[in-house]
Symmetry: C2
Subunit: 130 residues, 2 copies
């Protein structure tokens, strides 16, 4: 925590059930949250562009997830004052940082899919602890 | 893809709805999947240790998530032949790699929680696209 202003130095604990960082993790790692944050890493995009890029997302989930990401301070909605109206979504500096980390994870999964499918196997036991 | 055996070079595409990488992403970024993979980054642990470390996880969800992670090839269940039986869970080399990336994300969220809470605001618009 070097150049963060005082008051921003609050530290979260994801292992703690009541920590608000859990809510951030939930949005950031939600199915569509990950993919939208990665997609926006390529630059500002319109609603329709995001919809086409992220296969399988519904208009409703796209709109909902963009609202969550906006509330978390990761995404800006920019309405350009032109006719016809043009709205773009882009990452904030905070969003850029989280996007970079998610992209690293996403690329790793994409590149190692073959190894993971090869490693896939039935579990050695039924559903039980020890 | 340097030292992966041939046949493992299959590349996923997370933006494609039908790509099996989506299933891996789902397990890896599930609420408990993230936290368990991060927790196991500290070394092999028993069921009860994981249960205590990851606040709020139920026995059922812990058992279920461990099975998913085992099926994906990220976690090994090791039953030591002792009395009383002792079972440990530890990361595979593939699990170590994904755990490292998730830990990077988790640490970033924990360290930047203050900035995120400060950035949090109501969305600039109701639920709508453009």
């Amino acid at each position: 925590m070097n150049d963060t202003p005082p008051g921003h130095a609050l530290r979260g604990d994801l292992f703690s059930e009541s920590c608000p960082s859990r809510e951030v993790l939930k949005h950031v790692t939600s199915r569509w949250g990950v993919l939208l944050l990665v997609a926006l890493g390529d630059g500002a995009q319109r609603f329709g562009e995001l919809r086409r890029k992220v296969g399988g997302i519904s208009e409703k989930m796209l709109a909902q997830t963009l609202v969550w990401l906006e509330q978390d301070g990761f995404v800006l909605r920019i309405a350009h004052p032109v006719a016809p109206p043009r709205v773009e979504y882009r990452l904030t500096p905070l969003g850029e940082e989280v996007s970079r980390r998610l992209k690293d994870l996403a690329l790793w999964i994409e590149e190692n899919l073959g190894a993971m499918l090869a490693a896939r196997r039935p579990p050695s036991h039924a559903l039980q602890g020890s």
